[in-house]
Amino acid sequence: MVRDVAFGQYFPGKSLIHRLDPRAKILLLIGFLVIIFCTFNYFSLLFVTLFTVLMILLSGVPAKFHFKSLKVIIFIIVITSVLNLFYGSGDPIWQWGIFKVTVNGINRAVFVTIRIICLILASSCLTFTTSPTELTDAIERLMKPLKKIHFPVHEIAMMMSLALRFVPTLLEETDKIMSAQKARGADMDSGNIIKRVKALMPVLIPLFVSAFRRAYEIATAMECRCYRGGDGRTKMKLIHMSKRDVFSFIALAALICGVILCNIFIPAVI
């Protein structure tokens, strides 16, 4: 059911990656995502892949859950790689009608597949090892400079953490409402697309109603506790950078150097 989606779930733990400063993790992830798309030959791709595997091993989250997060996007991976396979330039090595496969196309397909996989694995590494509160806290701190231009940083962070907090609640609610409508004979698993979209209405309407109800409730509850925005609020858990964060930055820097060197000295294949 909907609850089986592993992508974005948090797994409490005490691994090295768990203990990194969430701000560091976000910056590392951004850096890593950029470098994934700066790989142009198989050596740099190998570096990136090894780095991803290292991250997974260090995260202490069972590999099974990493694979589960891939399962969600397998469809996207297949489509993009097949498209890339047929869109390569150069001499065809196989041709059937308008479909032609070139060496360049094969390379492109391999690259796009591995890039997407590394991208998803790295991102889910962040969400697996960082609790939603840590995550929003870190985002709030990282965006703090934007306050100078009157960007509502705290409000946005608060909205994010509230939204994240309600994801499991709403999933559970969806399950319940779906069961209730199925019990009244709603048919959600068959028929064409239009029929299926129509069949979703009995689920979506009660879901929206309850989401609004919960939003009002939480707003009231926050007001009852005198919530008044971010100015002068202190944090229960202070986050601070430590040695291991510095080491992780050094590791990323090494990777970036490696990839750049590869790009300089080895010819690109795509």
Partner: protein, 289 residues
Amino acid sequence: MSSVLELKNLSFVYGQKTPFEKRAVDNVSVSIEKGEFIGIIGHTGSGKSTLVQMLNGLIRPTEGQVLFDGEDIWQNPKEIRKIRFKVGMVFQYPEYQLFEETVYKDIAFGPSNMGKTAQEIDMAVRKAAEFTDLKPQLLQKSPFDLSGGEKRRAAIAGVIAMDPEVLVLDEPTAGLDPMGRDVLLTQIVQYHKKRKNTVLLVSHSMEDIARVADRIIVMNNSRLVMFDKTKEVFSHGRDLEKIGLKVPQITKIMLELKEKGYDVPDGILTVDEAFSAVSSLLKKEGKIW
């Protein structure tokens, strides 16, 4: 009498073969007769809700069978929807399932899914509204404009409108005021009497169960611990307390009288019964005439 629902060695495991594996229902075998009023009790997390969701095929048992009229409901998984019309299920807080523009349309959702004609649907809706005492003028209102109790009754009407052979209600009175509880319970009993179908009622209120049930299923720790006549079950007051359940207040008073050495019968369920038992005891002892 023939059994309308039969559960054979029914088990359900959540998250099978994952670290989160949890056995929610463990080897339950029960046979329910046509026309019975069954109460299901057990403390939170005892597996009641999982058990009832297997009765109409909302979840598929990991082991064992559910037989409806002697046939396995999962014999043909594509036909499982038909079972859902025969075994009507009212969830906890059913008012959160209301979605249509008018109460009428919402109650009609079930019957129209059954593929009935407009005329049959109209009949079904009006009958269901009558059973749950919804006034005809309410039918054209939006379900979101009703009061809490009315919403609850409208949602229950939505299930009754399918005219199920078996009606399962999961804590239908939760969150209602005492008056609303009594009224709703009475309506369910009236419905059961008129329609003469089978009703299963999950409840935390022992008083309610004692008032209405013929037999009681007691669940504890995913297992069936008792399945017997209401009187019998509530005469095991001490055993029920051990698994975190209570007996109705009046039953408890009589139980304690008995433990003090007074000669009163077991399993007294209502104040009236208690009154006649105590007064006959007093007569016997010559305290009153």
